[in-house]
Symmetry: C2
């Protein structure tokens, strides 16, 4: 174990720059994953300092290189998720390429893939084969339905698990058409749970010296984020429906219309409700038994919403937000993506960073939300790789 880690740091390791490179700077990730769930996981690992080597299909590479939006023919989608990674093109059905791949696995800490379950086994790289040959290797698989269960072998994509996992049934407006969560939350959630599984495996390996198999299903991740909706179903036996723009169990906690635009008000407890009523000159609500507790307010959420909306309609959103802010009531505007990225707090936290397409053209992307003391939180990240860009360096590091 020790010798592997030391060796890793000296030649094939992520960096020799020390702590400024991130807490995972001694870890090497071999990344077979494509499109989003796997690449999102390895982006998080890379942002935290790990060396991530994308192993891409010769010719076309990661499918997301062909998914828009494009700039000058290059995918901004691919670029934003794969910034800072290295690329080598390998055909895992060719003997010479398998040799390179296996030399990488012998030195790596983590293997990530998001193929349909069974694909790795067909290549001779199933978990038991890998574990026997590379006992130190942590192998993480993100898939649609997971590596066990009756639907294991089926392919899936984000929207299928958003639909099957129930989140679409609680998103949208009552009686309205089906509504997707506007980002690929099925992939992203699976990516985050994959990172958690990998880091748990890294911790376990410190104790045992052995790698583990981490098996994350996108569908499982959707169940895991249903929270209150499961509690409501479990208690009432009735499946909850969509509620538009309000919280099911906390009131007032919703988007309300002002004269010019909507605002969100989140008065999550009695003290905040009192502050809200005072700030809005609606003190009479404090004596109304319908609004006495959070539970009764939730029972009368529509009636309360009408009263608040009528009052909010008398002025503009900015005026109301200033007033609520002064009263310490959590509230905020509905930002579009440009407004969100330009917000002073988002800027101050380095959450709109600069990376670059493979030719160096700059691209704005989301930053790293995991801020850890003692490590840099850079306002820019290295560019995304050209297909096979790092072949020479990788072969040199491997002594091949």
């Amino acid at each position: 174990m020790k010798s592997f880690m030391d060796d890793s740091l000296n030649s094939f390791g992520a960096t020799t720059e020390g702590s400024s490179a991130g807490p995972l700077s001694d870890l090497v990730v071999v990344d077979l994953s494509r499109v989003l769930a796997g690449p999102y996981a390895t982006m998080v690992l890379s942002d935290l300092g790990a060396r991530v080597i994308k192993v891409e299909r010769p010719g076309t590479g990661d499918d997301s290189r062909a998914i828009g939006p494009f700039k000058d023919g290059k995918s901004a989608y691919f670029t934003s998720i794969n910034r800072g990674k290295q690329s080598i093109a390998l055909d895992l059905k060719r003997a010479e390429d398998r040799e390179i791949f296996e030399a990488m696995l012998a030195r790596a800490d983590i293997l990530v893939e998001n193929f349909r379950p069974g694909t790795m086994k067909k290549l001779g790289y199933g978990w038991s084969a890998l574990h026997a040959r590379f006992p130190q290797l942590i192998y993480a698989a993100a898939s649609g339905f997971g590596h066990t269960g009756p639907d294991s072998q089926k392919a899936s994509y984000d929207m299928v698990v958003q639909a099957m996992g129930g989140i679409m049934s609680v998103t949208g407006h009552p009686g309205g058409p089906p509504t997707r969560v506007g980002t690929s939350i099925g992939d992203i959630t699976a990516g985050l749970f994959t990172v958690i599984g990998i880091l748990s495996g890294v911790h376990d390996r410190q104790k045992t010296g052995e790698g583990r198999f981490v098996d994350v299903a996108m569908l499982d991740g959707q169940i895991a984020i249903l929270e209150n909706a499961i509690a409501r179903y479990a208690v009432t036996g009735k499946a909850p429906g969509p509620l538009g723009a309000r919280h099911p169990s906390i009131t007032p906690f919703a988007a309300y219309p002002c004269r010019d635009a909507h605002v969100v008000i989140a008065a999550g407890n009695d003290a905040l409700f009192t502050a809200l009523c005072r700030a809005m000159d609606l003190r009479e609500l404090l004596d109304d038994p319908r609004f006495a507790t959070n539970e009764t307010r939730s029972d009368h959420a529509d009636a309360l919403g009408e009263i608040l909306s009528a009052r909010l309609g008398e002025a503009d959103a900015a005026d109301w937000l200033a007033r609520l802010d002064a009263a310490g009531v959590p509230a905020g505007p509905l930002h579009d993506v440009g407004e969100a990225l330009g917000h002073p707090q988002v800027r101050a936290r380095n959450m709109a960073i600069e990376t670059a397409f493979e030719d160096g053209t700059p691209l704005t992307a989301a930053g790293n939300p995991v801020k850890i003391s003692g490590f840099d939180d850079p306002a820019s990240r290295p560019k995304a790789p050209r297909l096979d860009e790092h072949r020479e360096q990788i072969l040199k590091d491997l002594g091949l």
Copy 2:
């Protein structure tokens, strides 16, 4: 370092049950957090084996004990998120209670809180004070806006960051009213990034012997999950709007109406589009230049949607799903929460588990989506704690 870890394992550690208890079974978490973002993070840690000790306010405890849905006066919301944790009631302004708290910190690996920034400092427990006294301690703070930046001191809640972070601007239907993601994705995302920060800190501590400060903002987490929406804004300079139930850059990838219900079809590449057209007897689409590539299909998403919907309307969802399944085209039904929890794959993956209210009454909750080889994945989890239930045991473990 070594002696601390050993000591932790022997007396104050999570478990002596060995590997079946999870990869984090040697870690002790002191948890000051309330409601959702922090408690969700410590739930994930607990499910992976860590010993989590909730330090609750005497009298009322965690605010979410008073948030519905309720059964016999007990919160199912609180119970589902706090299963398997221990509870001690401490008033951090009283000298005797501070002594107990500090004895816990001296033996713990991780401290988690989700107060408004500044609260811990006022209590004398800011990061520099804690780090000086408890150098081994990893301190993770989840807050609305983070511990730095101009809005740092403001309180926030899930819906405020959903609004300010931009996800509401891409969720819903064009021209329709504001739409919240139907679960508290602002809290949950922050919780997951907090876990990633904590485990990164645990890994770093193996190398340095020192704890770190992990600072996660709910707003930052919302930016981090915008993915494709940021890429579109960065390339076009135009903020994307909501798209109802379809993917912005992949087509066909949407919910479509059959005769009786909607289905989601996710034909994410050319091969799947070909398979889809064949399975639906729509081969003529394969010769239509509008639908030749994913990019052209995305440019003509509405036209393609109308053709597919017209054909799908001729039969029921179950028939179409059987046909698409046989053709290997990713597709699925729109499940409500009950259907999702009852689905055979979800059951087979232990994603609908049984836990219990503090009095032992059973409650269905979401399982642990991080499956790791060599560790049990139980179909039930220990109950949620009564307020202060574990005081005696904790004091005994501390030798107090």
